[in-house]
């Protein structure tokens, strides 16, 4: 019984992750100007991968309650790709993430 319960718990977490991740898909190459009513969140994360050419960074980050996001690993577009210049994989960073109802964009990372 305990195992079944644990599995249900795991499955729920997995499904939750999938749903949360679904919301943040589709941002690649779709950078848009912040819209009125835009939501933002500050987060802490560990850089997994940097693609300076595409201007994207993959971050394993903690929960972002202001955006209703759980902890996850996600690739985000950076608003100003110059901010990627001095970043390294496996570096701990503070960042700000903005959501305009359509796309998630990192507006600040250091």
């Amino acid at each position: 019984m305990k195992r079944v319960f644990l599995f249900i718990l795991f499955a729920a977490a997995g499904a939750g992750g999938a749903l949360a991740q679904q919301e943040s898909m589709g941002q690649h190459g779709m950078q848009t100007a912040p819209a009125a009513g835009q939501k933002t969140a500050k987060g802490t994360g560990l850089i997994q991968q940097i693609d300076r050419e595409k201007g994207v960074v993959t971050i394993k980050h903690g929960p972002l309650p202001a955006l209703d996001m759980m902890a996850m690993t996600m690739t985000y577009t950076v608003k100003d790709r110059r901010q990627l210049t001095n970043l390294k994989p496996l570096q701990k960073v503070e960042f700000e993430l903005a959501y305009d109802g359509k796309d998630y964009v990192i507006t600040r990372v250091r």
Partner: protein, 540 residues
Amino acid sequence: MSFTTRRKFLAALAGAGAAGLGGFPWRREAALAAVDPASQFTNRLRLPGADGLYAAIAAKDVRQLTVSELTIDVLPNLPSPFWAYVAEAGGKRLLNPTLLARPGDQIRLRMLNRLKQPTIIHWHGLTNDDRNDGTGMYLAAAGQDYDYAFKVHDRAASYWYHPHPYGFTAEQAYKGLAGLFIVKDDDEEKLARALDLTLGVTDIPLVIQDRSFNFEGKLEYQLTRDQMFMGILGEEILVNLTPRPYFDAARRVYRFRILNGSNARSYRLAFAQGGRLLDYHVIGTDGGLLEQPQKVRETFIGAAQRLDVLLDLRAASGNEPVFLKSLAFDPMHNESVDEKTGKPLGGADPGSADPHAAHAAGGLADGSEIALLQINIRSSPVYKRQIPSQLSRLPKLVPAAGEPRRFTLGHDGKGNWTINGWRFNMHETPVTVQRGARETWLLRNNRASMPHPVHIHGFQFRVLERRDSPAQIKGLASRQNGLLPQDLGLLDTVLVWPGESVRIALDFGHPFSGDQTYMFHCHNLEHEDTGMMIGYKVKA
């Protein structure tokens, strides 16, 4: 909840991702393919030095090992909780020291357990009585000590030491407790002279471990039910506790003593320069040197196994970096196939990637291609040494007459891995052998299973035959009887694939009087901790 149902659920989740409805947004192997790998390997490989991690010291000079909870920077500049064996010598502090010995050395040391849980050290691969082996039958409780006193009986090889308290082993090993125990003898020194090899310079230990870190860079061990069943798969591959490491080398021969110190993950090791795989030589295994070097381009290594290899960088072209890689392979998470037919139950696509494995890895799926170490060729000194054709002599292999003792590896359909249907019970030894007897053991892994690295305490063994090996293993067999190059050496751990049967020869002769009890188990540490282990008695 059956496994079939669980697999379907996960498959549905992964399928949703593929359809753009959600799923897993980041897969490391796909991401690495898109980004120049050279820009990712920015950390100098940690090597045994005078102090700190892996510092080398004569084992007979170590009087005390303190099992400690520390904080170290595993990731660059990010302090993380880390558990280590700590030795003090000459005013220096050594963490997980590389212990050096020669056959005949007497080891006397006290282990101080400063963890908040019981522990014991297992001297993996060394011949010991059960009091000194670290089977887990004797433990040091939190805050208590344990005294070891033993003689090194074994030939030169890269042995290792790690925790072995039943139920705690996986967590303790994962959090950092592991070190090498290198025995050297005349054959070793002859090879070192022939190739001009120096430990830590051109004779390089490589401890490969996969670990996960939280978003603050702290090592974390949190098992899901799934990981408890499959074994934990870390998101980051560390070599000598270095993430994304590089090593500056010269154009000459290097010896790499490779230990797979991962809890569960296997690797298909190759050296690649650009799209080209370089030849290398397997020269040794768990129990030391082979008789002759075996030229290969790839080799599997399961958890706890050691491979001793020579790489001749004179065969590399130009100065393009060479990568030690794990090539892609089928991880064979076949626990829910039909045992009789080997086909998936419930109509799942037999060729599909295993969503189960992918999920457990958090983005670094089991069996995916992974670059482990970047080797930069920085200089071209005059070096004209050649790899010797003869390395050592192995004890004569005399297989036992008669029927083998049979062991079947499988699961009970309720989430428990078993050996002959047994699960571990500290108070039972379902197998008894006679001291001095020779036996053949037949290790058969069910089709409805996953790869199991089977470790036998107390005695090294030889592989006699592999049968019904999967194609990716059969393709690497270099001899009759389906033997792989590494099967030609002395082993203490053998990787048995789903559907495969491996016959091994054991000689239960040892110098210890009185009955001795040892362990026989899967070295996927989550499997071991959840009961895929049995005790066996050697009757005097």
